[in-house]
């Protein structure tokens, strides 16, 4: 079936069909992003003082990425102009440049900006006195020649207000007195429980044969499975939490009763991706899974402080659940980045033989296809033009 009006304009609309289609699509996109933008404004204006972390955005990275996107927008329209002049080689040159820019944009966003936030933590403590102590310790080099509270206030003001004002001072005083301030920085290490796993019994009536039960035991590393099953005993010593829990579950399925006991703690260099409050508060037989975390405060020249698990009220990296700010930040930049990603796929299609085939069949239609893609790409650029000041400046 031939699709009508792919090259010639339709008399009543004055446009070739694809172009009207893409404008209608862009209109729906305006509504989608418009809803998110207006949500952003609503949340921004309604935020309590001291909760909007706009100072955490790296303006240099944002401006750099804006330039990259502007360049790609420029290249995509030049690629179309080359096609208009019948120059396929020129089209390919500019199109590859566009793809390179788009990939660079995503590398910066998904490879640097987001991950560096995921590795960054805020920790809220239960107690204002302990909080002040931790700040004193963390900023001991400041304490020797200046006022720690002032130092913390400077960091706080830059993050939530950018410029000091009466409002920022009042909000800080309140947070400092009540201990609702968060310690911000990196988890360098933590002390995690080492666990002994003991088999205390086996139920023959659980519906598992002796052979199967022994196999399950052997799978968990038991040397003499039959002996262990009959008399009980130690299965493994000083194992880590995950293996212990896995063994407990698997052996429970095979009819065993398993006892886990914490025998000590070991310092583990932190893996930045896996941290959650839950892990700090989990306990094994009344003892915490994590005894303490070793924390490097921002702006403290890597001087470490140790936070006991019992003092921690909440712990969160800069992920969507951290706060409203990060929630809407990831939603909007994520949706925008998804558009960039989709654009890359379409561009690649139009560069591969399967897409280029149309050029050899009908040059004008191919040129129009590239023009409509260009319209989409400019729209993506347009969204970023508004996102840049909103996210990075305001």
């Amino acid at each position: 079936m031939e699709i009508p009006y792919t090259v010639k304009p339709r008399p009543d609309t004055g446009l070739y069909n694809a172009k009207l289609g893409i404008w209608l699509f862009l209109a729906s996109e305006v509504m989608l992003f418009g809803a998110l933008f207006s949500s952003y404004v609503l949340l921004r204006v309604g935020a309590e003082p001291g909760t909007w972390s706009m100072g955490l955005m790296d303006l240099y990275v944002g401006a750099g990425n804006t330039m990259v996107l502007i360049a790609s927008s420029m290249f995509v329209v030049l690629a179309w102009a080359e096609l208009k002049q019948g120059n396929l080689a020129g089209y390919k040159k500019w199109k590859w440049a566009t793809i390179a820019c788009a990939v660079l944009f995503l590398c910066v966003k998904w490879g640097y900006e987001w991950p560096s936030k995921f590795k960054h933590y805020d920790v809220w403590l239960n107690n204002a006195t302990v909080l002040h102590e931790k700040f004193e310790k963390g900023y001991h080099e400041v304490a020797s020649h200046g006022d720690v509270e002032k130092h913390v206030e400077d960091i706080y003001t830059e993050r939530f207000f950018k410029e000091p004002s009466e409002a920022s001072h009042a909000a800080f005083d309140d947070a400092w007195e009540n201990g609702t301030l968060a310690l911000s920085g990196h988890i360098n290490a933590y002390e995690e429980a080492r666990i002994d796993v003991r088999i205390t019994g086996w139920k023959a009536d659980a519906g598992v044969s002796e052979d199967e039960a022994d196999k399950a035991l052997a799978k968990q590393g038991a040397k003499d499975a039959a002996e262990l099953r009959q008399n009980g005993g130690s299965l493994s010593e000083k194992t880590d939490y995950d293996s212990a829990k896995r063994a407990e579950y698997a052996l429970g399925q095979a009819g065993f009763t398993v006892a886990l006991s914490v025998v000590g703690y070991e310092r583990v260099e932190a893996h930045p991706w896996v941290w959650r409050t839950k892990r700090v508060t989990e306990d094994i037989g009344g003892k915490p899974r994590v005894k303490s975390i070793v924390f490097g405060l921002d702006h403290s020249h890597h001087h470490e402080i140790t936070l006991a698990a019992g003092d921690i009220k909440r712990l969160s990296s800069y992920e969507p659940k951290h706060s409203t700010f990060f929630g809407i930040y990831y939603t909007i930049t994520g949706l925008h980045a998804a558009h960039v990603f989709g654009g890359i796929l379409i561009m690649l299609y139009n560069m591969l033989p399967i897409g280029l085939g149309l050029w050899h069949r009908d040059r004008e239609q191919f040129t129009n296809r590239i023009e409509t893609f260009g319209l989409f790409w400019h729209f993506v650029d347009l969204v970023w033009i508004f996102l840049f000041p909103i996210l990075y400046i305001l």
Binding site: G14, A63, S73, L78, I385
Partner: protein, 157 residues
């Protein structure tokens, strides 16, 4: 583009594209410099930032997206008018929420936010709508496309 009378030739267009690219880069640099060099109040930097964004966006739509030459095509224009009306509605809802008496009475709520919300909610969509309606009211918007279409139909026959 092929469906407009008065569109410039491709080499002219490429010159225009380079010019717009320059405007976009300049706009970004200005936004950046203002933010790092001057300690402006939040409200003022919001107005400046959004105004620069608006200028950049207008150039992208007008030149890169060929709207300057496609604007006589009434279907695009009405689509966009309706979209911006929707956007105005969204912003209007926010103003409504922040015009609430309890919010205005909040101590920490600076009146400038209400002004800003008003600016975003009314001025931005209104300016788009005014410009678009102005473009719509230019002479013979439909006729411009129709004769061409007739020619196209003739050729086809």
């Amino acid at each position: 583009m092929s469906d407009s009378h008065d569109s410039p030739t491709i080499p002219d267009l490429i010159k225009k594209f380079h010019f717009v690219g320059g405007v976009l880069v300049l706009g970004t640099i200005i936004t950046f410099v203002i933010d790092i060099m001057f300690a402006l109040p939040l409200a003022l930097s919001a107005v400046i930032g959004l105004l620069i964004a608006l200028v950049k966006a207008s150039f992208v739509v007008a030149i890169f997206m060929h709207y300057k030459w496609d604007k006589k095509l009434i279907w695009i224009t009405w689509t966009m008018v309706l979209t911006f009306l929707f956007f105005a509605g969204m912003m209007g809802l926010i103003m409504w929420a922040y015009g609430d008496a309890p919010n205005l009475a909040r101590n920490e709520m600076h009146p400038i936010w209400v002004v800003l919300a008003a600016l975003l909610g009314v001025a931005l969509p209104a300016s788009f709508t005014v410009f678009t309606v102005k473009m719509l009211s230019q002479p013979a918007p439909v006729e411009a496309a129709a004769p061409k279409a007739k020619r196209a139909a003739k050729k086809k026959g």
